[in-house]
């Protein structure tokens, strides 16, 4: 048997080693953040945020089309996923042991793991192909589907945490079931549901793959949801793989805005759910 001192020393060395390894794994994130801010911050100015792209060669121009596009896509996704997600979440929390619930949960788990590109294909088949052209609507639907499992899961989890007594107290006051759910149970779980919605928004705001065959992109400002629309991640992708240095700069600027937006949502979600 090795001496006790040796074993203690070994244990200590390993702990230092592991801690260093863990710290090392934060390096990529910090590098990405550093790179994006370094390259992006100088690009961002008022014009960048409020004007449309200009052809290569012309100075100036911005990414307004993408900002508006992402906003519209997120709104469409929210409109679809929030009610759908909350109602399904309520169903799972309330009638959790039915057969329908079992199957729904299975679908939620499948949706949670489905690659975003597959969602893109599906929405292409369901909406783009029948319509004959790309559209903001199809992009919003794709993002909505991506968001759905997050909203459902967080709603279900938070509602399960709400004591049964709260619900019964309301029913015992002669309040109908639907009002009990809408006015007592859902408000009691409001912060949790909100967290889920924010987390879902964070998940979809940077999604690109499902937009490739749905929203497609659009160099002009568009408010018509039946027409193709641009989005921040689409713009970053298109500019990043282009051969023009000035487009790369614009992509850095857009990346910077998108990353700050998504990370802020992420941090807010974590802070809310910690309380």
């Amino acid at each position: 048997m090795k001496s006790y001192h040796f074993r203690i020393l070994k244990s200590k060395i390993i702990s230092v080693f592991l801690t260093l390894f863990a710290i090392l794994s934060t390096v990529p994130f910090l590098l990405v953040l550093y790179f994006i801010i370094k390259n992006g911050i100088s690009v961002i100015n008022w014009e960048f945020l409020t004007s449309l792209p200009k052809p290569v060669g012309e100075p100036g121009g911005g990414i307004l089309n993408a900002i508006v596009g992402t906003t519209i896509l997120i709104i469409i996704a929210l409109i679809l996923a929030v009610p759908f997600g909350i109602f399904t979440g309520v169903f799972l929390a309330e009638k959790g042991d039915s057969k329908i619930a079992f199957l729904s949960r299975l679908v939620v788990e499948i949706l949670q793991g489905v690659p975003s590109i597959v969602v893109g294909i599906i929405v292409y088949l369901w909406i783009v192909k029948p319509m004959g052209h790309f559209s903001a609507l199809s992009g919003g639907v794709a993002l909505g589907i991506m968001m759905l499992p997050v909203v459902i899961k967080s709603t279900e989890e938070i509602l399960k945490l709400i004591p049964r007594e709260i619900k019964e107290a309301s029913l015992a006051l002669g309040v109908p079931y639907y009002k009990t759910i809408l006015k007592v149970v859902i408000p009691a779980g409001f912060s949790g549901i909100l967290t889920g919605i924010l987390a879902g928004t964070a998940r979809i705001a940077g999604e690109t793959a499902p937009l490739l065959f749905t929203a497609f992109g659009n160099p002009f400002l568009n408010f018509n949801i039946l027409k193709p629309i641009s989005a921040m991640p689409l713009l970053i992708f298109n500019y990043a793989v282009s051969p023009y240095e000035e487009w790369w700069a614009k992509a850095w600027g857009a990346s910077c805005i998108l990353v700050v937006f998504v990370l802020t949502l992420n941090i807010i979600t974590r802070l809310i759910s910690k309380r």
């Binding site: 619930a101 499948i110 690659p115 294909i121 999604e207 690109t208």
Partner: protein
């Protein structure tokens, strides 16, 4: 006392409400089934033409309308498993550090945020960064090793994937480590074990299935990840000869070629790829979640 009318009305509203709830749940099930059926339907043409042999075909030639998925399957599996290999030691280290050494406190919070937040960075941004930081770096290495200096390729894609999946396996691993009962650890300490011995002989064996679930779930992520991979893998349709050579994954082929696909067979073949990806990731995910669920009970 309310009139008979309002008595009935309230009851009806409850029924309607329950119907609405069930409607959404059933709609969700239809959504899931619809996913599968639509993909299956769209890929039927390619399936009829190439059958299961599709996945063994080495050539992907849109001009000749000859489609074989083997290079992409190979690329997908290669990148995913290399990524798992790269991230594994880090993920274990984070699991142990956050699951045992630093469970609370400022350092633990910061470390947790910094390791988990990379999952929040949009994959297109990571790909962009990879293109301008990682690709030149890998190119230097390739020059030093005297292999063709593409920069882009399997290795670059794997490194990016490793960054992306690390938070998943690390956070599930950490949770699994924290689930180890204190009595068990104390019993081992009481026998004179050192901290490392407790971790190695008690905690890791106890948390093993959780760690494995984390790895499986992150594999599911890696298999389906699209944008970052598409941007740095090099889009080569052949079977990659080494980890330095460019390649393609199922997801990256679809992303690259879908909007340009002309011809029904071409499109259907891409759908067929999508169906395969869907089934593989779903199976991998469900296995991972099944293990996790068993762990929680």
């Amino acid at each position: 006392m309310a009139s008979r009318f309002t008595r009935k009305l309230a009851l009806n509203k409850d029924k309607i409400f329950n119907l609405v709830l069930s409607f959404f749940a059933v709609l969700l099930i239809f959504l899931g089934v619809g996913f599968f059926l639509s993909l299956f339907n769209a890929s039927y043409l390619a399936f009829k033409k190439f059958g299961i042999g599709f996945f063994a075909g080495k050539n992907w030639d849109p001009v000749q309308e000859e489609f074989g998925a083997l290079p992409f399957i190979y690329g997908t599996i290669l990148t995913s498993f290399i990524a798992l290999g790269i991230s594994f030691p880090f993920s274990i280290a984070i699991s142990i550090v956050l699951g045992e050494y630093f469970q609370k406190g400022f350092f633990a919070e910061i470390l947790r945020y910094l390791t988990e937040l990379i999952a929040g960075v949009p994959s297109v941004v990571l790909g962009f960064w990879g293109l301008f930081f990682l690709v030149p770096l890998v190119r230097e290495i390739e020059i030093a090793l005297n292999v063709p200096p593409y920069g882009v390729g399997i290795l670059t894609a794997s490194i990016i994937l490793a960054f992306m999946i690390l938070p998943y396996s690390a956070s599930i691993g950490k949770d699994a480590m924290r689930l180890v009962p204190n009595e068990l650890k104390e019993a081992a300490y009481a026998l004179g074990a050192t901290r490392w011995e407790v971790i190695k002989k008690v905690m890791i064996p106890y948390a093993r299935s959780g760690i494995i679930a984390g790895i499986i779930l992150s594999l599911g992520r890696a298999l389906g990840e699209t944008m970052a991979v598409t941007m740095v893998i090099g889009n080569y349709h052949g079977i990659p000869e080494s980890i330095f050579s460019p390649g393609n994954t199922i997801a990256s082929v679809i992303a690259n070629e879908f909007t340009e696909a002309t011809g029904e067979v071409y499109l259907s073949s891409l759908m067929y790829l999508g169906l395969a990806l869907f089934i593989i990731t779903t199976v991998v995910n469900l296995i991972g979640r099944f293990i996790l669920k068993k762990l929680q009970h």
